[in-house]
């Protein structure tokens, strides 16, 4: 793993209004095949990407929200949500999808992928990354 770079994807944009959220997720899925250390951060309107109950049937745009629950299968299991962004929008973790992954080293125990962190904790985390891609 010593050669692996730390990739951080920062998602700041809401889904559907623009395509960035969906095309960002496509990068994450493709990138997962490269065995790098991947984390995702959802800040500002990016937290809306993970809202439960998205239904685009009357709009006609592809509903890509179920794809987030597949991230665990791609070994993408470090998903950070900024506490301040959630609170600023009157949201709690209960409003968001419950994302999990299965830990191979612990007999496939199911674990939470999402961690709610403060701005200060996120700032420290960003500072340790090799590559920061923001969408």
């Amino acid at each position: 793993m010593s050669d692996a770079k730390k990739f951080m994807y920062i998602n700041r944009k809401a889904p559907y209004g623009t395509i960035y959220a969906w095309e960002s997720l496509e990068v994450v899925l493709i990138g997962a095949a490269f065995d790098q250390e991947v984390s995702l951060a959802f800040v500002d309107d990016g937290v809306y990407q993970l809202m439960k109950g998205q239904d685009t049937s009357e709009v006609g745009i592809k509903n890509f929200s179920p794809t987030y629950s597949a991230l665990g299968d791609y070994d993408v299991n470090k998903i950070y949500i900024e506490k301040e962004s959630l609170e600023a929008r009157g949201l709690t973790l209960d409003d968001l999808q419950h994302l999990v992954w299965e830990d191979e080293d612990e007999d496939w125990a199911e674990k939470d992928s999402i961690r709610v962190v403060t701005s200060a904790e996120l700032a420290e985390l960003f500072d340790t990354q090799d590559i920061v891609l923001s969408f």
Binding site: I10, R12, V43, E82, L122, D130, I131
Partner: protein, 102 residues
Amino acid sequence: MSILHTVNKSTYERDTLEACVRLAAKGGSVLLIEDGVYSAMSGGNKSSVIENAKGDLSFYVLGPDIKARGLSEDRLIDGIKVIDYKGFVELTVSNDTVSAWL
């Protein structure tokens, strides 16, 4: 580790600079480009975003984008350094990572 943050939105229209400042670790550099340069002007009701953060972060502004918009370097918030594209490249090299706040 140090990060060069780029911001290309006016703080009078979007909150991108506020997000950058909130999530940038102390000691980082912030380069204002494109419409981001409007945030570098003094005397506005959003000038405080940079005024309040400039103790922890170094601020730079892309000169060609200031000139293109008819803005005067004399009216920049104190402490902001004006650089050109060459300086942008140098900042990329002198920091470990570049993070674009889009």
